[in-house]
Symmetry: C3
Amino acid sequence: MISYTIQEIATALNGTLVGNTYQKITGPEQLDFANEQQITFIGSKKYIKQWQSSKACAAIVNEDFEIEVGEQKALVKVKNADTAMAQLLEMYVEEGPVFENDIHPSATIHPSAKIGNECRIGAGCYVGKEVVLGDKVTLYPNVTILDKTTIGKGTTIWSGTVVREKCVIGMYCILHPNVSIGADGFGFRPSPDGRGLIKIPHIGNVVIGNGVEIGANSCVDRGKFSSTVIGDGSKIDNLVQIGHNSKMGRCCIMAGSSGLAGSVTLGDGVIVGGGACISDHVTLGNGVLVGGQSGVINDFGDGKKVLGYPAIEARDALKQWAILRRMVKEGK
Amino acid sequence: MISYTIQEIATALNGTLVGNTYQKITGPEQLDFANEQQITFIGSKKYIKQWQSSKACAAIVNEDFEIEVGEQKALVKVKNADTAMAQLLEMYVEEGPVFENDIHPSATIHPSAKIGNECRIGAGCYVGKEVVLGDKVTLYPNVTILDKTTIGKGTTIWSGTVVREKCVIGMYCILHPNVSIGADGFGFRPSPDGRGLIKIPHIGNVVIGNGVEIGANSCVDRGKFSSTVIGDGSKIDNLVQIGHNSKMGRCCIMAGSSGLAGSVTLGDGVIVGGGACISDHVTLGNGVLVGGQSGVINDFGDGKKVLGYPAIEARDALKQWAILRRMVKEGK
Amino acid sequence: MISYTIQEIATALNGTLVGNTYQKITGPEQLDFANEQQITFIGSKKYIKQWQSSKACAAIVNEDFEIEVGEQKALVKVKNADTAMAQLLEMYVEEGPVFENDIHPSATIHPSAKIGNECRIGAGCYVGKEVVLGDKVTLYPNVTILDKTTIGKGTTIWSGTVVREKCVIGMYCILHPNVSIGADGFGFRPSPDGRGLIKIPHIGNVVIGNGVEIGANSCVDRGKFSSTVIGDGSKIDNLVQIGHNSKMGRCCIMAGSSGLAGSVTLGDGVIVGGGACISDHVTLGNGVLVGGQSGVINDFGDGKKVLGYPAIEARDALKQWAILRRMVKEGK
């Protein structure tokens, strides 16, 4: 088990130590759940009063908060307790699941696949024809990578995830469990007799940039032709749907259960709240902010904040909500 | 095939038999789909008139309904036909998928894993280092359990489900297919140059109580530190998202496609309707009822019924809707 | 790599060739992304002006558009460029992922399963007791089919998908990756002491017609008794939830992240927009159109267009939205 002295932690976080504790600190925990061997943090003034009753032996706190340290307890004062906490978490990261064999004998790897150096491939994985894995790619057990897909250096793919044929995944990406990359897009045309639907072939692929993270059970469909694109550094949460031929810029964020229909274009740094949906062919500029559960059916330019169903500029949506509340109050 | 006489069914349900049928009854079916060997049920007066034309040889009915039994047909009168129906279904449960070997030779089980008595582990499963399975745990084919996770007695995990490392699953739980437990929470901080996002490590886990059911393709993310917690007896439907560090009380219900963002706290017996989302850090008291597709952005105390986007008390939401309908009618 | 001359393409599409190009055409691409060896298409007048700057050597265009062909470039004039494009895509479909063995030695197939002619079963698949696969069924690697399920001729099931026991899948269906078919429906009753929930057994199954497509990570739950039914030719997108005992007619369309709660009945040709939810026991007639993210809590008859939360007739929902916008504008 990883543990540190309070001095080691204060030094690592470049903080100022107030008070002292002789505990070996085994990890971080919330104020109310911490035990005597744990360190907590106070990033908001409203939690200061809970410090006296917390069992934690130490806390990381914002340097401008006035907090009495207490006996045999310690405070590590830092500029920003939230940021310091993220640094502290890095210190407690334990090694992930083990690989007894770098390539498990129960994995099926096509002889034409190119496997980079220091790759790890778990039990039950399938790696298809002409797949290319860069160096230090990790596939946890029961991952499926189909033919001609390439996966960049240092990417990690968790169990149950499926990447279909001819897709391109960048370097240092993380695909969480049960993700589906490269399924056919949802496109049909009426049959000649007008009574049915005929599938439109989807011959494109998915291209994912570097440093992208895709949450558990999320889906990115392949392009009808051309590619569905996720830009470098974008972060996608769980259960998110990305429709065929959508193009996402750099460092976008999509929160859980949100979705892009087909052929949506997002600029750089767009943030889409949980449960929000963006309709077909909509274009959103750089830095657009879409409120949770909004339904966006129109284009919006750089930096707009939008909200509601259908989504409008956030200040107007808030006004609509205020009007409705007032009307109820006035019994209209 | 399981079958019963009408006398056997009447006895088992502690009901009163009216009329008779000599059919061997092979199972329950709706009034309009049943054949002569099936039993149906009438739990609402509006269905009484369909009884004469139904092919079913028997029906379970509320004892206060006036229904003419008909020739060579039977009624089983009970206090509550709905409850009796649930009992009847138990009588027709057939054995689940077979295991020819208790532990399939194609499963990969780390030698350090502890496997309880009478466990069944299907083809292609992976059970990692220091995993502990209690007695009578069933893993259907192609389940992945990563290192140091513990799974309680009598729990059943269906195919395609992934439980990541160091999670704790209670006794008598059911995880349906393609569930993802313990993926990293969705947490990032801006990079020092302000142009990118840096992943915050998630060193916590998921702790699931006893008697919990988690629907197909649902996700429960691990805590940043500390645990994401699902209380005893809670029931989660399909495609539900539970964000990191959320804490759910006892016997909560979350219907399909709903979600909790990060650090949400639910009391006991909270019911969340289909498609509803609860925002980050919201706290809902015991017995709160959230209407379908609502978006909850504020705390609500015990017993509140909330509805709408953003969610307000249900009676106020209904008033808003009535006002809007009236305005349209009046052509305002 | 597949390629065609412009003459071959014009002939195949039954179009009129204007101008010429000597390029071997390697595939279709959007106007702005195409290279000199690619063909593009112009199905809307607003894109005509981009033709001059496109690098594409050829374009498929509507015959009534006036477009200057340009030097060493070609136009293929057709009645409807969109439809012709779908035909063109068929010409460029490459063979899917390979199967070195028709039945991979690492697949586990119960000896009692009946496997049709020309079936292909990938690595790590599980096919349970008394499963029946029709001719030409394809299971990509890591698919799980549990006992007594039958799958019709020509159906394709992608990796990670799970079909539970006793389900019936029709002919020429496609199940995309990580789909869950036949999980228990979400049904519980209060325990006798009123403090808990008791699971209601789900002894029914799922019956899927012919020509059905089900998107990645979607779920169709089994009936409590009787069947959950998906009619012939229906198309379901990704991350869609179909609750137990719902019945869907022929050629329905459900867009991404939408859902049916339990016991919903859809007529033929119903279209449900992305993110929309239909409540328990609702019935929608033939050809009903449900707008994206709507919440349908009432029945609607044939041909109705409904929209909003709660969903009302679309023209009334649009009026509500207009009234709200006007009130904000007028500062009420």
